[in-house]
Amino acid sequence: MAAVPAAVPTADRPWLRELLAGEAHAWLFVGKSVLAIYLGAWLAMWLQLEQPSTTMITVAIVMHPHSGMVLAKSFYRTIGTLVGSLVGLALMSAFPQQRELFLLSLSLWVALCAGGALRYRNFMAYGFVLAGYTAAIVALPAIANPYGVFDSAVMRVSEVLLGIGVSALVSELVLPERLRPILRREARAHFAKFLAFLRGSTAGRIPRQAMQDAQLASVRAAVQLEDLRSSVIFEDPEVRLRSRRMRLLNQRYMAAATSFQSLHHLINRLQRGGRDAAATALIALYRPLATALTPPAGHAGDDDLHALPPQLDACVRALPGRAAALRQDLSDAAACREFDTGAALLARLVDELAAFVATEHALRTGRPVKGGVEKVHFSRSSDLAGVGVAVLRTFLTMATLSVFWLASGWTFGANAMLLAAIFSGLMAASPNPVGSVLHTLVGYAAGMLGAAITVFALMPGGEGYTMLVASTLPLLLIGPYLATRDTLPGVGAGYTLGFVYILALKNPMVYAPEHFFNDAIAQLAGLGLSGAAFMLLPGLAGTGWQRRRQLRRLRALVWLAATEPLDGLLWRFESRGRDLLLQAVANTRPRSAESRTLLAWSLAVQETGRALLELRQDVAGGELPAIARDACEAAVRAVAALYRKPDLSAWEAADRAVDAAIALAPGRARNHLHQLRSALRDDESPLLAAVHAMPAQEPAHAS
């Protein structure tokens, strides 16, 4: 392992210290990767497995600087490997003598796995890629000798599992670098930022632009925290115990953020509509929240939260009294109604904030959350059209290679298919697959060159494992080191993979240049073909068609909020909306017109959907008279239909239904209806623009 020159006097040169710290991290990762690769290879040889190179490739793919990531990848890879090997066996036993049918069904399986990888992003995707790829590595080498497929499957699975085990142990035991501190730091930073934003917003008016930026930041935070959490649970048993509470925290955060936006939109609309009396009263009602969210002087430390929950609880208790006092100053009935609507929203916001801060406090102190922990899930939303394109592309790639292989009798066709299987799956989820494949291709070719030098110049004449390590190490080191450079994404991984793949370490090694070069050409062809497939059949990411689809799905969330069973619906609605928005925004340039449209729609959808949910809860509470209940349900349906197909007639129908329900509904339900109406008539919302852009008589689209 590389020694870090710690004794260099760096006190007066901060840039040098920074450089050394960065290099130390990089070399730590290089050392761990190399250690895991050689340990895996040695164990595979010691256990007399057929291809130690499979173990080395596994290690090369799984290694990551953070041990939580390695464990998460390993977990899903284990599942993917087991499933893939079973499928490989099943395919082989179903078509032992029909190569055409066998290759067709194998292509189909790999294609479906690539689609699954796109459908389930994060590390579960990885399990899918591996399920496809393992079916290929189990079945393809045995294609000439179907009787050997079972032994081949046992060998491949043993080699892969050995690689997974070794990389997991090495990254956990040897100077582990944890994700948990990162998760904690990120979570605290988001928490502090959100509270600061709330404190800073008590003046009332926030411009749409700032609100949209805040929305984007909060959405990004929610999804990022969920991603980190799903990796950290693998590295730390304590985090696993808290995992449910962390989910709850994230959900409460999303709920509070939505309420906050709704409240601000309401106040802004009142101000724009010249209803200054109600707006001023609401802002006055809102102001004490800032003091409640400020830690008392002397406790300025960011980590000290114990003062906040009691302050917020006091704020919750004081709210009705203050609201009554402020209401008395209002003159006309309309202002009173507007004030009531805002006060109800504010009460909801303060409630949710109190729950949010209490959960964060409980997480930091390790105490249980009051009122037990609900089981909540971060629900994601994926576009099936994109998945379909990935399936089609992978299937065509694999089928083309199969046909070429069968027609030409190419000895190394199987290797080309293997590489194509790996990379069509791995790259499908990448935002810029062609670029990623090109980077990887360059790295891969460089790795093969390195391996060629190693195999033909350095290795001959060496004896024993020490000499093997000594001769392969110098050129292998380059791969993991490049992987730590952010400026060259994919090149380092490609280098390592190409190096260990073409090295094809066996015991004993054979000197076979023609095999080496044939194999190298086949692998580059497979990789190149999967890249060409991405060019010929590009993913939908970033196209206008997909953006329109995403927009429609975003609006369909209102339909979801209006129709699905209420149980757990709030969490599904909030998390799905954020996941969808983040996917859509990731493909637009920041602050471009498209990105602003998406954000504006997402704000409108969240406000309306949330109000519908609250209204439905009032209706389900059963305290409304039957006639008011029917009117409320009609209003919910009309608004949902409007979001499904925004045009003028639907808008008018929704407006009428909400008006009719307002006339009948009492109390809480009426506040929610008022909020709905005010959101419907919001002149800055994209809804009105869309309604006016689309004439009422247009024939209905199937959506």
Binding site: S67, E172, L173, P176, P237, E238, L241
Partner: protein, 66 residues
């Protein structure tokens, strides 16, 4: 327990079910020890967990398979 088990005509090492059983036991133990907070008092938690697993598996293997 026998050294090798026939599973639908495939011979498997008798240690395999012991290994899986120990893995399950380890998950339970992990939950328990995490809950009582033992890992906070251990110098290298992952090393400790690995060692614990090796003890479990080694002991069970030596006792059960002969």
């Amino acid at each position: 327990m026998p050294r090798e088990i026939a599973f639908y005509g495939t011979l498997m090492p008798g240690l395999l079910p012991v290994f899986v059983g120990c893995l399950l036991l380890m998950v339970l133990l992990d939950l328990l020890l995490g809950r009582i907070g033992l890992y906070r008092h251990v110098w290298h938690a992952s090393l400790f967990r690995l060692a614990l697993f090796v003890c479990l598996f080694g002991g069970a293997g030596l006792l059960l398979v002969r």
